[in-house]
Symmetry: C2
Subunit: 504 residues, 2 copies
């Protein structure tokens, strides 16, 4: 047992008080606001590079050097000065998603004020697991779950939902619920059983986290049956029907059918009503990965892309994609309220209070992978409360429209090859200058990859790559609503000029 | 195909530009810094309640009302005014972990500046999955992984680690790697196999996420074998040895042995060297859940609690617990570098670039549950770079010392019952005033639960509950280094006076 007033303890307490000092925080946060505002202005104006590229090993070394140079002692002012320097290091080496030339992954330049709402939760460390740890966080989350349920077309009293850390975790959670409901006792007894193996039927171009989920859940990645797509990359319901008929006749339990709204590679939206007809016929759990496209539901112009989603058993919808809030904020939605309690089950007497059973519905930890969870909903709740749903409709409309606009530009350019009719803001294409006329598909593909790497490392644009028919291609997600048609023209010109350099 | 300049599109673009406006952000962030600074000052001074309790249903209704009241149109100044109001709503209904009377869950009042570093990542939406999306985020993460590996006693070149969203996800990830390594082909083929079922051996008082992991991974929660603990709540290596001998002789594949540093209920640290001896003898994967206690490694005074951790195959260490950064930032560490690639496996040609194979080691998405991941390391990297490791030693020393100090106070008070000798800053006890002398254990237990609920809803203190020997008890984690011995005296007095009210 230690005495209460160790001298060492007093010194440690003094150092801690200095680190927690509200005065230090006031000065630091003022500087934080100033530095970030300046940065946001420059980036939006396109005055910086998009990506600040550095190779991994030197970058890790640099991060380690800064870490090892922390001063053992310093005055408050010295700490503030170093704090500001550290912020500048982080900004100078980061990725500038708010740059109009950011046309990369399905991760948005989040609305800056959404970031501030989220940041309030970070600084005060608001978390959840049980209701009492984050009562307002849970209230905000459940208010949004109700609002999204209505948007899908569900009765909030009958349906349910939770927020989790990302689309992959969200899809895993929904498929875990589907597995437990379909197999009955898999949670307690495991998935091993006599007879044909349980299978997961997933759209052939579904996100890799579906196969992963099968690996994690003990089904095995080989137990994923691909649901074939048509020429437009949409799930083919006729072949799905045939596939389910065969699987059922062979005795395979079918965990779920996974449809996409939209699928990752080219952004194709599946015909959800037709898929729902087939799932209902075979009495199979229908899961819709609407991580990217669910937000189309908030746009009167694009809502039709998700027609039929209300018939799904579970839906994943990422707010950190097309609702433009910072990562991560992924909704797992269940049409049947009871299903949301089927994913997990546990006994943690130190957490769940037997004297207050009414709180169980709001003890989110019962229904999420996470025990302690960030209040991931603050960004979305704040943004929605500030601007209302029109902003989300605008963001969908402008970015999805840009998909069509960019496709039109590509179609009009003889040195570019279009590869699909875009359904949304994802467009995949190839640059095919005349010099490549006699190149093999492998050469054409490698040219796309090298061209892209050249451009992203230069910081001029940030775009990604894809693979269509086995051949690499260029891929943009028009995720920045500040990108203009002129920026898109400039992208084509940059591809041309960098391409010429590469080929010469 | 849509024309490029729809009038609707122009109006939408104007509204979006207003929402993204750097001027709006500058004003909003300035207000944000001011409001949060004021809040931090008041909370640390104990001028607010700890928890702002409201029942769930009215709270959800309130959150929804605010959501539905978003003004369709507003000037910039009106937006800023509403923004400030919304921040105040969030703060007035939240949980004040920085209040000295917060002695609740294993979630810290994070160092305020760590929150600002984290918040920079949120506002600029820095994410990771592949190296190029978050090069500095990954650099920072890997610099920290190397530093923590050295602290454990591993060679950073031989070991590996990743950050994931919370201790539950981290333990799941490590156990998934253990399952895949132990069973060989479970990822592709599933866990079903002929012969005795695979089992997971977990410390009897290990966190509920261990049982959950068995449920998720397809093993089944019934395949968890409890490793019995001694009277001091520590894993008993002799009985572990006997248990492994029996399991092996019966032919059960053993996925892993889970030891704790420390276990959740009373914060007991297992004898890791003795556990390692047994695991080595039986050639079983040793996993240590050091989510809470791993940080003791940074304190010369308390490092001994984790002796032997360097012999584990995998370790989970949460920075959002005893390294005092905001949630979530959980490290999964592997002694054998190759094992970190065994948890997951996938093919995502649109993500991983065949033209740059050298980047694979830094494409974190290959090794984490998350595809898109927040740069969860900014808070820790910034904090460490600003104050150095002494601050972490101080935080461990002061809070762990308080565990002993509080236990001494309880031992000296005839109306309190101590239930264990604390190993760290977790202390479990009961209030047993004379009036309860003839009460049954059930009555004593229910009194603890009602007393606690009464106090937390009042906002005077925030503490949690536990269960020891089947009877509910009070539980504190002395997570706030600003809590003083006087606050702890006041806690006992508050328990006494609220207890008297309840009993009268």
């Amino acid at each position: 047992m230690l005495p209460i007033d160790l001298p060492a303890n007093a010194a440690a307490r003094n150092r801690i008080r200095a680190a927690y000092s509200p005065e230090l925080f006031a000065k630091a946060s003022e500087g934080w606001a100033e530095i970030l505002s300046q940065h946001m202005t420059q980036v939006q104006a396109g005055e910086t590079r998009v990506l600040n590229w550095n190779d991994p090993l030197p970058n890790v070394r640099a991060a380690r050097e800064v870490l090892d140079q922390a001063p053992a002692t310093a005055t408050g002012d010295e700490r503030v000065a170093r704090f500001r320097e550290l912020l500048k290091v982080m900004l100078s080496r980061g990725h500038n998603l708010h740059h109009p030339h950011y046309v990369g992954h399905q991760v948005p330049p989040s609305v800056p004020l959404a970031g501030l709402f989220d940041a309030l939760g970070a600084v005060t460390n608001q978390v959840m697991a049980i209701y009492e740890m984050g009562p307002w966080g849970m209230a905000v989350e459940q208010a949004l779950v109700g609002r999204l349920a209505e948007t899908i077309g569900w009765d909030p009293a009958q349906s349910a939902g939770v927020i989790t850390h990302g689309g992959a975790a969200a899809n895993l959670t929904a498929l875990l619920a589907a597995r437990n409901v379909t197999l009955g006792d898999a949670w307690e007894m495991g998935v091993a059983r006599s007879g044909p193996a349980p299978v997961l039927v997933a759209q052939a171009e579904a996100h890799y986290c579906m196969g992963r989920s099968a690996g994690i859940l003990g089904l095995g990645t080989r137990q994923v049956v691909k649901a074939e797509v048509d020429a437009d990359h949409r799930l083919d319901p006729v072949r799905l029907d045939a596939s389910l008929t065969r699987l059922k006749s062979e005795g395979h339990p079918v965990i779920a059918v996974v449809a996409c709204a939209c699928a990752t590679p080219v952004g194709a939206f599946d015909p959800l009503n037709a898929v729902a007809d087939v799932c209902e016929k075979h009495q199979v759990w229908m899961h819709v990965d609407a991580a990217h496209g669910g937000s189309a539901l908030l746009s009167p112009r694009y809502r039709h892309l998700c027609a039929g989603i209300e018939r799904a058993d579970s839906v994943v919808w990422d707010a950190h994609k097309m609702l433009f809030v910072p990562a991560l904020c992924a909704f797992v939605m269940y049409r049947n309220r009871e299903h949301s309690f089927r994913a997990f089950s546990q006994d943690a007497p130190y957490l769940f209070d037997a004297s207050a059973p009414d709180l169980r519905d709001f003890d989110g930890g019962l229904r999420t992978l996470e025990c302690t969870k960030r209040t991931a909903a603050y960004g979305l709740w704040g943004l929605w409360s500030l601007f209302g749903p029109q902003l989300f409709a605008d963001l969908v409309d402008v970015t999805f429209d840009m998909g069509s606009q960019f496709h039109a530009k590509l179609s009009a350019a003889p040195d570019f090859e279009t590869l699909h009719e875009p359904h949304c803001n994802i467009v995949v294409f190839r640059h095919t200058p005349e010099a490549l006329q006699n190149a093999t598909p492998e050469e054409v593909g490698m040219f796309q990859l090298r061209l892209r790497r050249n451009i992203i490392e230069s910081g001029e644009f940030y775009l990604v790559h894809g693979v269509v028919n086995g051949v690499p291609a260029l891929r943009v997600t028009l995720m920045n609503p500040l990108t203009t048609p002129e920026d898109l023209d400039q992208l084509l010109d940059t591809l041309r000029s960098r391409g010429r350099q590469l080929l010469s």
